[in-house]
Amino acid sequence: MKVKNYYSLLVLLMFGITSVLAQEKTISGIISDSSGIPLPGATVLVKGTSTGTSTDFDGKYSIKANQGAILVISFVGYNTQEVRVESSKTINLQLSENAQALEEVVVTAFGKTKQKRSLGYAATSVSGEKLTEVSTLNPFESLSGKVAGLDITSPNQPGASTKIILRGFSSTRAVNGPLYVIDGTPISSASNSSSSTGVGRSFDGGTNINDLDANNIESINVLKGGAATALYGSRASSGAIIITTKKGRSGEKVKVEINSSLDFLEVARIPHLQQKFGQGWNGVDYSGLPAGGIGATNENGSWGPAFNGQLRVWGQIVDNAQQTKLYSNLEDNIKDFYDIGHTYTNSVRLSGGSNNSDFSLIFTKIDTDGIIPTDADALNRNTLSLNTGISGEKFRLRVNGNYAQTRQNAVNTGQGNNAGEGETFMQELLQIPRGVSVVDLADYKTNPFNNNDNFYTPYSRNPYWVINENKTNLSRERFYGNINLSYDLSTNLVGTLQVGADILNGGRHSHGAVINYTPGSPNALLGGTNNVGGVTETTNQNKFYESFLTFDYNTALNENFGLEAQLGGSMSNNYGSRLFVSVTNLDIPNFYEISNSAVTPNTAQQNTHSKRYSTFGALTLSYKERIYLNLTGRNEWVSTLAIGKNSFFYPAANLSAVVLDNSKHFLKVRGGYASLANAPGLYSTESSALPAIAGAYFGTINFPFNGINSFEIARELGNINIEPEYTDEYEIGFEGRFFNNRINADVAYYHKTTDGSIINLLLPNSTGYGSVVGNYLDLENKGVEVALGFVPLKTDNFSWNLDWTFAKNKNKVTSLPEGIDELTINGAFNINFKAVVGEPLGVFYGRTPLINDAGQTVVDANTGIPLQTTDEQALGNSQRDFVMGLQNTLKYKNFRLSFAFDWKEGGQMYSYTSRLLGFTGGSILTTYNNRNPFIVPNSVNDNGDGTYSENTTPIDYNSITGYYSSTNNPSTEAYNHVIDKTFIRLRDLSVSYNFPESLIGKSGLNSLSISLYGRNLMLWTPKGNPYVDPEVTSYGGNDLTTEFGEFSANPAQRTYGMALKMSF
């Protein structure tokens, strides 16, 4: 992957003087690579003169030269060629790729570019073009499978969060995500999702990094290791993603680029459901009438008899009338609920420059409405970015400003709550029995059978009502950018001052509608609980400022040795402010304002401020441009540690040696050590007191109570003794390009140990505290990352590139506080997610069916249902065995076809969808033995004297209904709700065509390309997971708790789109 270095070209252009001589003639031609793909921006020079030009976007050039002159044609990453001007006026040339790729550069700390060969650590860069081949809402989605060692979870939903984990989890806290740095200034990637990690109402509002405009990305560099991030400080302890935005080129006339795309979206994975049994419970299709008789089918489950195709009445009796329908299956009743969504992306970019200045202005507008009916999952985002620079003789100024405006409607997930803002649609949708036509429920306003009073069941709600009446809307205004001043203090000393800011104003409104069942209506008589309705309004402001000052020194010590040094300091301030107001029990239906309740509002207000100062130094010593020694050191002072413990230093050293470097092959080996430190989050050092709330099972007793207020000691115990958390990382690796780039490889092995990882240690309840933050966990991550590229076929017109990435990370908890074997990270419905010594972070535990020494299942002699083990048993962990990506790129003339597969193997997740479908009888699992009574295979009864006798009690139909539900068969939780999250996905496929100039030459366009693509086209999951796309989540963020699983998560979508790119 190349970062095109246009700057050498610019210099040439600036100084290019065309000599006018009598014999000279105009030579023109096309410069292409060895497969015939035109090379835009290649340099054509007349040897021995200062005459030069560069090729346009079709690889075309024209230059005036004398016959007999030598043209020198060069291009970054290709072998320079010389050709003599003969009589022909046309010189076409193919350049061969240069294995050395000497000029390949990566952007590292403070926007500094470095030659990749000098790096002693793994860094991968991806060009912006690659990211926008397939139009995405989220620039990082396209990274999946393209960078070894980067595990990205990016559900294909409007505005959903992207989770990026580099080299495994290093903490149980929400600090596992990489640091995002845009043009040298870190920006916020905080989550806008619900903070809940429980089973209640949740939503995924995406992360702040979603505000980035994919069309404005020049390149992304992924710095995976500790050495790479030592210069970014503790925030980058989980890696860094360095983004460079597009700049204009000085000396170029104004250019306009337009990118437009239109996508159509359809629902991808929905649960695979049983198709045999319809509405009912315990095998009967009727249940208690409002009046207490027999007849109405008011169940929310598919536990009725097998479909028989007969006409029957169903649902509630309304005005003495009842609906009829055939008792037969509707295979796609759930799928039919979803719409075809669409996404429009339009981007216009203006760029250009004069001799000493340049600018790039880009505006992008995205409108999307996903697959859920109505605009409940719509997202609109407008981004405007300006990047402009001016330079004098010694002085350079660059200003980079970005504005993003986001409006997002998030679809709630989780179980919902009728004492608050109501239900969530997936939870309700999945309770619709097999055979019931979902689309016929859409009209809940005029069809009396579909309104709340008469909906066919009191146990769940009409999903159309939920999607229309219960909403979460987010809005966000964001500004980020920086001003960079640099000054040449001497020929080899440069001073740079950069001031950056990231300012965000966010808001959220959510509400749930009131349900007051009409007294005497069927659902009132059946005891359906009213919904009280509620409204929440939140606003949040975040202001982040970071300034740094650096001095860079660069000199050749002698013929062989070179020295680069950098000294600097930085300071950052982070301010947050949040206001939350929520009311329930709305008085006036359909009026969603916080004034609309007589109940005391819940309010919360929070101001935060943290500071971070640092000084750092870096030194690179090079020998003959073949061996590089890099040393860095950084000292940080942070406000989140107690005075006296708030300063910490960490060094890094690495070595890189180019051991093979000839025209065909290139091989570099590297190795290094880095120490990384990290600090705790805000306000962990001291205990606090909060408004008193008394827990009362499903309710609470709040204050003000009886006219008075009260406060209580917070459940988090302050810890003045928190130390910085240190990680040591060793890394070795090599990168090579062989046989003229036909094969390339980048391989890394790393070993990271974290001592005293700062975690929330859960305290015994009897302390009265919930947790204390401190250095209580040691862990280790080790792994390999492999990126291999092959070019199996390559002819003049055709090429085939195959890129394969593979990463395996092994994470292990090495120590916990003395006497504690495990820490619980998250848990729900009797499944706990734990850190256990000797195991990877995140092991699932639950009580499994009791098995005796002979391997037989011990069941209850009365019911035939398995007994449970007394203690929780390990059920597997969330760690993946490996992550693999395979990308194929085929080019034929101006056509290009590429497709990419992701394979993530292993790891477990919790699936609430599985739980719910077991309860409702929708899952295929529940059709075991055609729902006839069965004896649990190989089951025995405990005789109580150490012996066992064969079990003869079958599970009858009544119990079958409960057999898949935790209430009757508790061990089903462990057995069926923790599932394998392996998948293979055809992540994307695109076909594009670049119009040659012969077709567009007279249109005034410089370039025109069209592409067709699809995303998330195929998904394969193992048999144990017919339920969900394993990448969907109910939570946002990078917290380990998000690895727990899903709670009625919304489905992912499949995209078909086309894009048009042009420039003039």
């Binding site: 300071m571 989140t640 309710g699 008075i708 309840n765 302390t767 009265g768 508790p970």
Partner: protein, 484 residues
């Protein structure tokens, strides 16, 4: 280069200045030291009410057979079939929230002791011992002496019998302080129980001692007798009013916690149905409270205890009636009177007064339901005190009426008293049997303990997984020490 280094040095000095970085205090929160007694006490009282009035009221109410799980839903099946485990929220939440409340109660107590504020010292001690007795009655051995200490992350468990002795010792210590010499703030409206009336707290403390001693009548008769005799002979004032939390309103999270949890916050309000045990007892005695406890005016069926798989339509069963504004009774007036009646009869301390105490207690409970109970205790009334009967007859009358009077929020106390006294009796036949005697306890139809009843709650994993000093989980079938 010198300039560069100088600039950096200045930079570094500027940053390393501690005062610049000393900002790590949440600007929006108070600290535990900031909390005045009047600020911390109200939440401490509601904490006790939340634990007792929701978690333990539901478990206690089902186990004392005033309710059974509805066949139409499933929320409390694990309670009704005796499979409550170490992770079920309904039982673990009580333990967690009890110690959460005790953190503030003990914070008040520590500060009150240090500042010699004997008023708040007594109030906090009563709350501490009241809640701790319930904890040990449910769980047996519990952390008591080392609990809620911010320096002890692994509190030791105290032997249950030692906890009982400590409760009395701590109450005596607080009662022994001279309230008239109390220093500092005086409780007022922050005292949600008695509005700052300290003599009432003294009565609460004494009545609590009576309750603690009474619980030991079977396991340690001598201790019980000595304690009660001393208490009654000293004419220590006992509760003549309710010790309760009132002030609930019909609004979310400001209501009676049992109502809030079971009726308002759950997706169905029909989980708690009339258990045949209490329902048949009330019906058999034509007790007017029946129609105030359960829906249907006596025309609906009750659920045989634990028969939640009954195929009859759920609407055929009577549902519990709960009110959002019912107070949470820590020790109600009638409970105080019932205990006094038992104590006087049991140890013949002016036993003649027992009948009046009993009658007053029964009438007081009818009063609470807006009914006149006089006819029930009058001569030939169904609840007439068996003055001529044996002690067993009298105890049966007292404990049975205490059981009925525990509806709806004090089922836990009724359950403990049933364990101690065996009253009401346990039926030898299922409730579906024609010979079933109304009001007798029956093993849950879906009970997993054979013919046995649950005896305790299991230690939650929230304790055992984090506390090195936690003992092994004691099986649900092991009786608490005073149950012999």
């Amino acid at each position: 280069m010198k300039k560069v280094i100088l600039t950096l040095v200045i930079f570094a000095m500027l940053f390393s200045c501690d005062s610049q970085l000393d900002i790590n205090r949440n600007p929006d929160d108070l600290t535990p030291d900031d909390l005045a007694f009047a600020v911390e006490l109200p939440g401490s009282i509601t904490a006790v009410a939340g634990v007792q009035g929701a978690y333990w009221a539901i478990i206690g109410g089902i186990w004392s057979q005033m309710w059974s799980q509805s066949p139409g839903s499933s929320q409390y099946r694990i309670v009704d079939n005796y499979t409550l485990g170490t992770t079920d929220a309904i039982s673990t939440g009580g333990w967690l929230n009890a110690y959460d409340g005790l953190a503030d109660i003990r914070n008040i107590k520590r500060k009150a002791l240090a500042s010699e504020n004997w008023n708040y010292y007594l109030i906090s001690t009563v709350l501490e011992t009241y809640l701790s007795q319930m904890l040990t009655d449910w769980y047996g051995d519990i952390p008591y002496s080392e609990a809620n200490d911010r320096l002890i992350f692994q509190p030791h468990f105290d032997d249950a019998q030692d906890v009982y002795d400590a409760l009395v010792r701590d109450l005596d210590d607080a009662l022994g302080r001279n309230l008239s010499t109390s220093v500092g703030d005086v409780p007022g409206v922050d005292d949600l129980v008695f509005g700052g009336d300290m003599p009432s707290w003294v009565k609460f403390a004494n009545t609590l001692k009576l309750k603690i001693f009474l619980r030991q009548t079977e396991a340690r008769p001598a201790v019980a007798q000595a304690g009660i005799t001393a208490l009654l002979n000293s004419n220590a004032p006992l509760l003549d009013i309710d010790a309760s939390l009132t002030g609930f309103v019909d609004a979310p999270n400001l209501s009676n916690p049992l109502y809030e949890s079971d009726k308002r916050q759950l997706n169905t309000s029909l989980n708690l149905r009339a258990s045949t045990t209490m329902y048949s007892y009330l019906a058999d005695n034509s007790d007017a409270r029946q129609n105030l406890f359960y829906t249907g005016n006596g025309l609906l069926n009750s659920v045989d205890q634990g028969d939640y798989n009954n195929p009859a339509g759920p609407n055929t069963f009577a549902v519990s009636i709960l009110s959002p504004t019912t107070p949470v009774y820590f020790i109600s007036l009638e409970e105080s009177l019932f205990m006094q009646a038992e104590a006087r009869e049991r140890y013949s301390i002016n036993a003649a007064a027992a009948k009046a105490l009993y009658d007053a207690a029964v009438i007081e409970n009818f009063n609470k339901w807006g009914l006149n109970g006089a006819s029930y205790v009058a001569a030939s009334g169904v609840y007439e005190y068996p003055s001529a009967g044996t002690f067993s007859d009298k105890l049966k009358a007292i404990i049975t009426q205490k059981w009925v009077a525990s509806y709806p929020g004090n089922g836990a106390e009724a359950f403990f008293e049933w364990q101690r006294t065996g009253i009401p009796a346990t039926s030898s036949v299922p409730q579906s049997d024609a010979s079933y005697v109304p009001g007798e306890f029956a093993v849950s139809v879906n009970g997993v303990l054979g013919t046995g009843f649950p005896q305790r709650l299991l230690y939650p994993t929230g304790e055992t997984a984090r506390n090195l000093n936690a003992p092994a989980v004691v099986p649900i079938t092991t009786p608490i020490w005073w149950n012999q």
